[in-house]
């Protein structure tokens, strides 16, 4: 009997303990001690920009350099990008990293509102415009209005038409320009590009605006030439743009953590595995361009490249490669430089969208591209036959002239060389007998395969609207 009473006591005690203490502390302990639940914009911005630039550099090396005959990653196996053999697996990296960083940029924008900082809002808008333009120029139609809302449970965002994305980007860049009119400088440590200088961000925003207006200028729907004219001729004071190399948007890798170039940790052997292509080397040789000394190794005493797209099994002996010093080069963190803007303006002038002379822009672009690298423009450079601007040239001749120079100004700049080639066909690249894909330059990257499985309905709708999901389907502004 006593035993039974003891048991009853114990069980009662246990049940009493249980109801009060079984979940004690649980709520407190569920708070992650390694993280915080609310960010300030200055905590997010620097790493977001650095990661985007790092992402862009990585694929500039892997995709753009190969497609645009900067380098040739020799070999006869499959998946050789220089042969236009672009496998679906190449699509993942950029799509993923760009969208992940957009999540951080959105929080910078939100933080800008919360902390009443129009500058952070504007910087976020400019960066978002930049990243969304990269996304849509690479893939075509992509999620835009419904993107980056996974936190709120939106797991299957619909894809927006490229035209609508561009319209949205332009609206954001307008907004940024307006916000920055009054925006104060922000913490320099939060901004590795302009050290928090609001005026420089405004110039970059508008320069980027011009880049993108030009990109879709062949389409009548958005009538961008008129906007270009407005920005350059009608109300330039309302749209300040980059005025010198100092205004260039470049994340200059200092080598001091965290600003270490993503290439710095590469094995040198991996870095110089792709060999320089003759297209890239020959122009610089012909122009006696001093940049070659900063970019290429000597091969048997001279700078020499190999033809891209050679016949499989007939590999030429390799010559020059990229210098390993580029692995730590500050200037590879280029987002958009002053020269590029000058070439944009030169093209606008050549197409008659501004009354200002194209020659001035072109020559400013060509010389500043060299001085950016702290090099001296060779005497008579602008008079060399291959460099010289002639107002009597046809538009096509002028375009080739501008874009050959622009090609070098866009060295290691995300995929801009490729975008511009797809838009204009310039600079004219030599063709090789060993190209796959019918010798056709890929028009886009296909969507990553997991989009097909994780966002099926939206993907199907996008493919139905845009065309087959392969590398030869033209995006809207190419059509």
């Amino acid at each position: 009997m006593r035993t039974k009473i003891r048991i009853i006591y114990l069980v009662t005690l246990i049940l009493a303990l249980c109801t009060t203490s079984c979940t004690k502390d649980f709520k407190e302990l569920s708070v992650n001690p390694n993280a915080v639940d609310h960010p300030l914009p200055q905590a997010l911005l620097a790493q977001a920009i650095a990661d985007i630039v790092g992402t862009n550099m990585n694929r500039s090396q892997r995709l753009q350099n190969e497609l645009m005959q900067v380098t040739v990653n020799m070999g006869d196996g499959d998946g050789k990008i220089f042969r236009y053999d672009v496998r679906k697996a190449e699509s993942d990296y950029l799509y993923r990293n760009w969208y992940l960083e957009l999540t951080n940029l959105n929080d910078v924008y939100k933080g800008g509102i919360e902390t009443a900082s129009p500058t952070y809002q504007a910087i976020a808008l400019i960066c978002r415009s930049w990243v969304f333009s990269l996304l849509t120029d690479t893939y075509g139609d992509v999620p835009f209005t419904k993107a980056n809302q996974g936190k709120d449970g939106l797991f299957t965002p619909k894809f927006d038409k490229q035209q609508d994305i561009y319209a949205g980007i332009f609206a954001q860049l307008e907004e940024a320009n307006t916000l920055l009119k009054t925006g104060a400088n922000v913490a320099s440590s939060s901004d590795p590009v302009f050290a928090g200088n609001a005026a420089k961000w405004r110039k970059f925003g508008n320069s980027l605006y011009l880049r993108l207006l030009l990109r879709v200028s062949a389409k009548t729907e958005l009538n961008t030439p008129a906007k270009i004219t407005e920005m350059i001729d009608t109300s330039p004071s309302n749209y300040p743009v980059m005025a010198s190399n100092d205004d260039s948007a470049i994340l200059r890798w200092t080598g001091v953590s965290p600003y270490v170039s993503p290439f710095a940790t590469w094995r040198p052997a991996d870095w110089y595995t792709p060999k320089l292509a003759s297209f890239f080397v020959d122009n610089l040789n012909e122009w006696s361009d001093p940049r070659i000394g900063r970019w290429a190794t000597l091969s048997e005493g001279e700078y020499a490249g190999i033809p891209s797209g050679y016949q499989p099994g007939q590999a030429p002996p390799s010559k020059s490669t990229l210098l390993t010093s580029l692995q730590t080069e500050a200037l590879l963190g280029n987002i958009m430089n002053y020269s590029e803007l000058q070439f944009i303006l030169a093209e606008a002038a050549a197409k008659g969208w501004t009354t200002k002379p194209g020659k001035t822009y072109y020559e400013a672009g060509a010389t500043n591209a060299i001085t950016l690298w702290n090099l001296t423009v060779p005497a008579g450079y602008l008079g060399f036959q291959q460099v010289k601007w002639d107002d009597t040239y046809t538009l096509d001749q002028k375009m080739e002239l501008i874009h050959k120079q622009k090609y070098y100004a866009l060295f290691f700049t995300d995929l801009e060389q490729w975008f511009e080639y797809r838009r204009t066909g310039h600079p004219v690249l030599p063709t090789g007998p060993g190209f796959f894909n019918g010798g056709k330059m890929p028009a886009r990257l296909s969507y990553p395969t997991y989009v097909q499985t994780s966002n099926t309905a939206s993907y199907n709708a996008a493919v139905a609207a845009q065309g087959a999901d392969d590398i030869n389907t033209k995006v809207w502004w190419q059509k």
Partner: protein
Amino acid sequence: MIKHMYHKFLLHLSKLCLCLLAAMFVLTANAQVRDNDQLTFNNNVTIASIIDRLQSVYKYKVSYDADLNTTKVIHLPSTRLRLDELIRQIEQQAAVNVKNMGGNLIIKQLDMVSVNGIVYSGDDNLPLMGVTISSNKKVLGVSNMGGKFSVRISSGANVSFSMIGFELQTTAFAKNTKDAKIVMNVVSNALNEVVVTALGIKREEKALGYAVTKVKGEQLTDALSNNWTDALSGKVAGLNLIRSNGGPSGSNKIILRGESNLTGENDALIVVDGVVINHGSGRRTDTGNGAYLDSESPVDFGSGLNDINPEDIQDITVLKGPSAAALYGQRGANGAVIITTKSGRIKKGIGVTVNSNTAFEQISRWPDYQNEYGQGVDGDNYYSFGATADGASTRSTSSAWGPKFDGQSYFQYDPVTHTGGTTRTPWVAYPNARKDFFETGKTYTNSVTLDGGTDKTSVRFSATNVKNTWILPNTGYGRNTVALSANQKVTDKLQINAKVSYTNKASDNLPSTGYNNQSLMYWNMFWVPNGDVNWLKDYWLPGKENINQSYPFSSFPDNPYLISYEMLNKSTRNDVLGNIQATYNFTKEFSIMVRTALTSSYDQRSQQRPYDTEKFRKGMFRTQSINTQEINNDFLLRYAKQVSKDWSASVSAGGSMLVNTYNRADLRADSLLYPGVYTLANKAGVLVAYPYQSKYKINSFYGIATVGYKDYLFMDVTGRNDWNGVLASATSTSNVSFFYPSVNLSAIISEIVKLPSFISYAKLRGSYASVGSGGQDPYLTSYNYVASATFPGGLYNPTLVANPDLRSLRTTSAEIGADVRFFGSRLGLDVALYKSNTKSQILRNALDPATGYNEAVINAGDVQNRGIEITANGTPIKGKSFNWSINYTFSANSNKVISLTNDLPLTLQSGPGGRGQVVAQVGNSMGALFGRGYERAPDGQIVYENGYPQLTDSVKYIGNTIPLWKMSMGHQFRYKQFSMSFLVDAQYGAVGYSLTAAVLAEQGKTTNTLPGRYNGIIGNGVIMNTDGTYRPNDVVAQDISTYYNAHYGRDNVEGATYSTDFIKLREARLDYSLSPKMLSKLGLQRVTLGIYGRDLLTVTKWPGFDPEFGTLTTNAQGTPTIARGFELGQFPSTRTFGVNLTVGF
């Protein structure tokens, strides 16, 4: 929800009870009714009146000695009793012998002595209840709850103590004896073993409704390996080891009955003396990233599981299914491995045992290297180290498509000047260069054990020292373990036990694994046939010590001696594992146990890399301090009662509180100011810190009720409720609580019905369990910004969307089985069939990154495992001097993914550089390997184009990486003082991707790349005609490296995937023990000398080293794991030879 489940559970329970009762009724009615004539007497009666009543009422004839004291009063236990019981009472109380000769009773006076004492169990020194005491085939009594007994016997008679599961003890007593201590030794091959089940509750095996396997401590130390868990191979049906192959302290992942958790958390629960170690000291402390060319290679520093001293293990019980481990709660869903360590024994004086073990490890297999062609890319018809008179340099490749070794001479490397030689030297192969780099591994294990005890106290102390040098130069470890076990019976009612072990394990260098610059096997694949390994021994360039390494060829790999002597991975680990437990018996039937258990580990590690290593040009130094601790406090109330003669019942109820903490501080200087100085202060840049800490609690209540009928029908019902803090969020605890039940039944058929005489024992069992689990990854329920390691004050968004509504997953399982023994247990067969489903798993579901995230945490998925396990043992020859016994196991498991989120495939493991994936796909096994493979014609032939095999653009199914079945057979022979044993095991039906084979073939290093060199080759297959039909391939492939690259290279997942079937001679051992005669002359207790071998022979088609591989890497869910499917630069497989000497004083 819980209420609903509870009702359902009750319903199931009542159904089961009804079935059980019905079964009992039928069986009882069929049972044989024996002669049970009941005689009636008064309780206290004289012998004279008994004799009188026997003669007058029951018609027995009684004769007796004249001097018999007939006035002696006999106290009868009952007024009604059978004749044999009556006789026993008279004999015991009157010190007489009664014989029944066909109705004639003869009573004889005897010279009797009285003996009393206590019977103890040999394995744990606890008093043993229910031991039958008999003499001259007559049962004299049974020991009580405290193990006490008191009998009277005729002077000098043998008294036998017997109990199922223990060896028979026979002792003669000549005079009155008080406080005799009888120690019963456990029999391993007994009809009815006592096994340790969940929560450490000891049960008779016959009462269990699920399969258990017991492995004795000796079986673990017979053929000692660096990781004692290797010894479980082939001894437990349904147990799979996935080995990290990570060097001398390589970890093993123990998987029971197939994998079910898509996250990869499928390890069995490891319990040491009631202490769960998995998430405490048992956490693997590896470092690095993926195994394939990641920034830093993984290093396996081992875990607390490796550090358990096998010499201290008494035995291991393997509870394979969730039914068995349901009481362990959520962490038991993958089965449990319960380790019981040794305790002190009751004996006179102190027992001293010294054990010394020496083992040598040698590489057992090599890839099939070719030694006919030297370094060069395809088409090189000469060799030149640097540009020479012979032509341009051909030295900077690792490929071996170069010129044939034909007696010619070339300008080659000069190891003295570390540059090109000035004269031509003979062009020859160095076939042993890759092999000579390795050494013979040596392991010395020495241990001393002291133990002793009285009936009140017993203590065991052991100290073990292990010293290992591994097969790679300058690698190895040392380990010291001290363990103490003490049992104290404070009073008759209170007993206190304590066990504690402390381990210090230190290594000056453990090897980096995988395919990467810091890994030796990367170099090993890249070394060329025309290179001598001795050229590399001066690993710095002259005058450039600590600044520039010397490596003559391709600059991809690093100098292997630089890796071994300069790229060090150090570790010092201290583990403490212990528990203190007190048991108080309120009454014979009612007791309480309270226990506190701790497992804690502190690991200090560092990695250093010198200047000029390919991945860290300016050197590197990193340190990690890892502190892991888990404390578990629990109690268990037990109430057991023999309700009636036929019915017994027990109820146990308990609760536990678990607190797990983990702290890790990782500091990194990824470039150094001064070369060769490895301190954090010597950082060249910013010191980067990666701190991480976590803490969670799990509280539980649980109970088990058991019912037994007539010792042949048994039923257990368990229930447990967990409150898992991992599922709490900052605002809610609504999902933290979950309940789950189990029920199991056992029937000893051989006791119920009469079976043919050749069947000595037959048992049927069945069980059902449902186990919930909330996982052990905290912080998945709330959205948090991650602190940036490198950006001061920086934060970034997580790539994983948290789920504030996260729920527990659930595993349900059902099992039936039979245990049948024949011919007096000379042959035994145990079969188990099971099925389990793990549903509502906690998964990281891949999202379209356009959502802004990579993954979301969700509850989804259902994975099913079905399988069969067979264990058989037999004793073909059983003699006085010669004994031969055989053990056999077979297990087959079929794994199937039943559902996934929206039924979308989930990548579990990705191959090197994204080549190939192990994918969970509805309808397939979790081990399904997909990748690009041969383009094949409709009839299955390989399609060629321009002479080269074509690969598919999309991925296809390549094979299953999980074996269909495993089998093992062990033989033990004993002849006089010699004993010999060996164990063979085999695996069938799985494939694996071999990076070793792929890279060697790409580089022309293996013999399968010899045919067709320089003449071209026509591949076996078809070629497509312009009209879409096929004709046999008729195009000569000229570019031989492209040809073999397409066949066997990395990109061709099909071509680089090979069968992992194998047969291994796993263990062999020969022992000689000194005879008792010899021993007594020497004054020793025991001397045994043994020689043994491990992994002596492997029969397999696997082209690399060992078909049984696992790879230390990061899985697709981002968690570090030991993955199967992809071999990414495995270390050579080894065979071990050892000598073992045991001396007991």
